[in-house]
Symmetry: C2
Subunit: 359 residues, 2 copies
DNA sequence: ATGAAAGCGCTAACAA
DNA sequence: TTGTTAGCGCTTTCAT
């Protein structure tokens, strides 16, 4: 049986109330020495608070809920990791629930979480229709991170797509390109529109006239990227550079260029977006802009914790900036070797253990 | 305030004990009608059990712990998803804790979980040194899935690497190859050895003599795969097919072949292993064997639940079989188009919502 | 500054 | 078959 507050109280010759105050950082006034003594004793006795009892009493819980479409989908995992890490700082844990793109599962998830006295929820990359409705959250606090529905919701954390788009296109402009194509993502993602706007703004600031024929619509996957790139490259006056809507589109563009006998980056420069693994594995490796998932996760957890502890906070959307990762697909003098595949920390670790076991 | 058992009791004109029995599937004998009546009433009143109170009382919890190195690492995410899905069937949730390859964090994680009355833990892809020691788990049940330390631990779920390796090599043999090279992974992964053994066994069964010079040691990354493949291809009598230790090695092999002016699969057939995303994005797409992460996750959750509910169960390691995914890198008549990039279910969903909002 | 005691919602031993 | 009641470990009000 685990050590309880009562046992500590007996050992310390004080009441349980005093021990509770000492151990839960209560702001109830008490002598510094007693507190000190109790804390040390508890430590020595191996006391660990029973969170369940604590939750029952306080109707609060150090567990928050994370509701996402699917934890395995492209960016969600990193977001969740960011959430976990930020939560850990304040002693919280999270329970992750997948809705599998079914908004009905959301209300169910919320109810399930409610049974655990969960006070806060982070909606992560959910396609839910929160906009339209009517989730019964009671008085739980909630926050959105990387939401996939229209913009300007309070308490949300999103990537700064405009900033990132500028990073990508400005890079091409700086390399001297004037005829720059763009392959948009599906209109269903609002990021597509933002990245496109950034493209237009960058051109404008550089005094490059906008040419409609240089813009194709893809849907963020390789195959559409391939087809869209083909069209651009078949233009009477084809682009010398393409800002692909994301890394998969960039990969499709590389393939299209190869099939036309064009060399990347020599004949065509390509920038991607997202910095998925493929960007560092492709040949050439893809210059891209990071989608700062980990940081967004952290920011969302931070926001929720503020909401939980300080009550209301600023309602503005938080935009997190990514950064440009220069690799091979744009040239740019950076002809250095690819950045792929450093042995992972796991491998380091395994090898260390292996060594140790030998001895 | 949420509806409690007491309110249901008053409304039903029975005692709380009766309600408790009706609602918690107690095996205490009671009249079917009363139970029925109470269940319906509770439903109508919007009653949801307070799990926290329940846990405090029973010292059990419907939450289990998942301890992994890093949820974002290659296979862990899918394993966790498998765990979640299987747990859901029995009404469990999980809390995932990352140890970041630091075994010290493990004991800490266990203690943190203990505070939540967690009775079961799944160790997922941890590099921990459980073998050597001395984690204080008290009477908690635990299970390993895809553990990365030496073999034959009770209550663990692992991939059947021997079976998978045979799948890969037998495929090459069936395609008529007799001179088949192999690039092993790092000796730190026990999977390397298994895949190698499978390679030898397959050759033997096909009556192909083993040739030491056809085996190179890589470390499962692209760069080492590239170098190892170079060596094999520089052999006086180079292989016509290579079983790469994993997909990244296969990618490096493709690059090496390309750089020597060889066509894949025409001049060199390549099989990978793991079925990571890159396998369906590379050019050519890579024929590979799946690492059945999702299924392993499910199996591990199932095992833990058995342990929790039925007490002891069979101790044997559970081996989960993967399957061969035939793509382009081995030829095999399967010259069909690449299998890349169906629009994701998320996109489908988003487009549906978009449509709906238009109306 | 400390203690006594109530009670969070539930389950289960015991009683009827 | 149903009811009464103690108590899980903790926090917090109220009293001292």
């Amino acid at each position: 049986m685990a050590v309880t507050i009562r046992q500590v109280a007996e050992a310390a010759n004080v009441s349980v109330a005093t021990v509770s105050r000492a151990l839960s950082n209560s702001d109830h006034p008490m002598s510094v020495e007693t507190r000190q003594r109790i804390v040390e004793l508890a430590q020595k006795m191996g006391y660990h608070p029973n969170q369940v009892a604590r939750s029952l009493r306080t109707e609060r819980s150090p567990i928050i809920g994370v509701i996402c479409d699917d934890i395995t989908s492209a960016f969600t995992t990193a977001i969740v990791r960011g959430i976990q890490d930020r939560l850990k700082v304040d002693g919280y844990f999270c329970i992750v629930i997948n809705t599998d793109w079914n908004p009905q599962n959301e209300q169910r998830a919320i109810q399930d979480l409610a049974g655990h006295s969960i006070e806060g929820i982070i909606f992560t990359e959910t396609t839910h229709q929160f906009a339209n409705q009517e989730l019964n959250l009671e008085d739980r606090k909630y926050v959105f991170v990387h939401r996939l529905f229209p913009k300007d919701y309070p308490h949300s954390v999103v990537p700064d797509e405009i900033y990132g788009g500028r990073l990508a296109v400005d890079h091409l402009i700086q390399l001297g390109h004037r005829r720059i194509g763009h392959i948009k993502g599906s209109p269903a993602y609002y990021s597509s529109e933002d990245r496109f706007q950034a493209y237009r703004a960058a051109l404008q600031d550089a005094g490059i006239p906008f040419d409609r024929s240089l813009v194709e619509i893809g849907n963020y996957d390789v195959e559409n990227g391939y087809k869209a790139a083909q069209k651009l490259l078949d233009l009477p006056e084809p682009p010398t550079a393409i800002f692909a809507g994301n890394d998969l589109t960039a990969l499709g563009t590389i393939y299209a260029a190869q099939d036309k006998g064009l060399r990347v980056p020599d004949d065509l420069a390509i920038v991607g977006y997202d910095d998925q693994q493929i960007a560092s594995l492709a040949r050439p490796t893809i210059t891209t802009v990071t989608l700062p998932c980990f940081q967004m996760g952290q920011a969302s957890a931070e926001l929720l914790i503020s909401l939980l502890t300080k009550g209301e906070v600023a309602q503005d959307e938080i935009k997190v900036k990514g950064e440009l990762i220069v690799r091979e697909s744009c040239g740019s003098g950076q002809t250095a070797r690819s950045t792929i595949s450093k042995p992972s920390s796991r491998l380091d670790r395994l090898e260390a253990i292996r060594e140790q076991q030998k001895r």
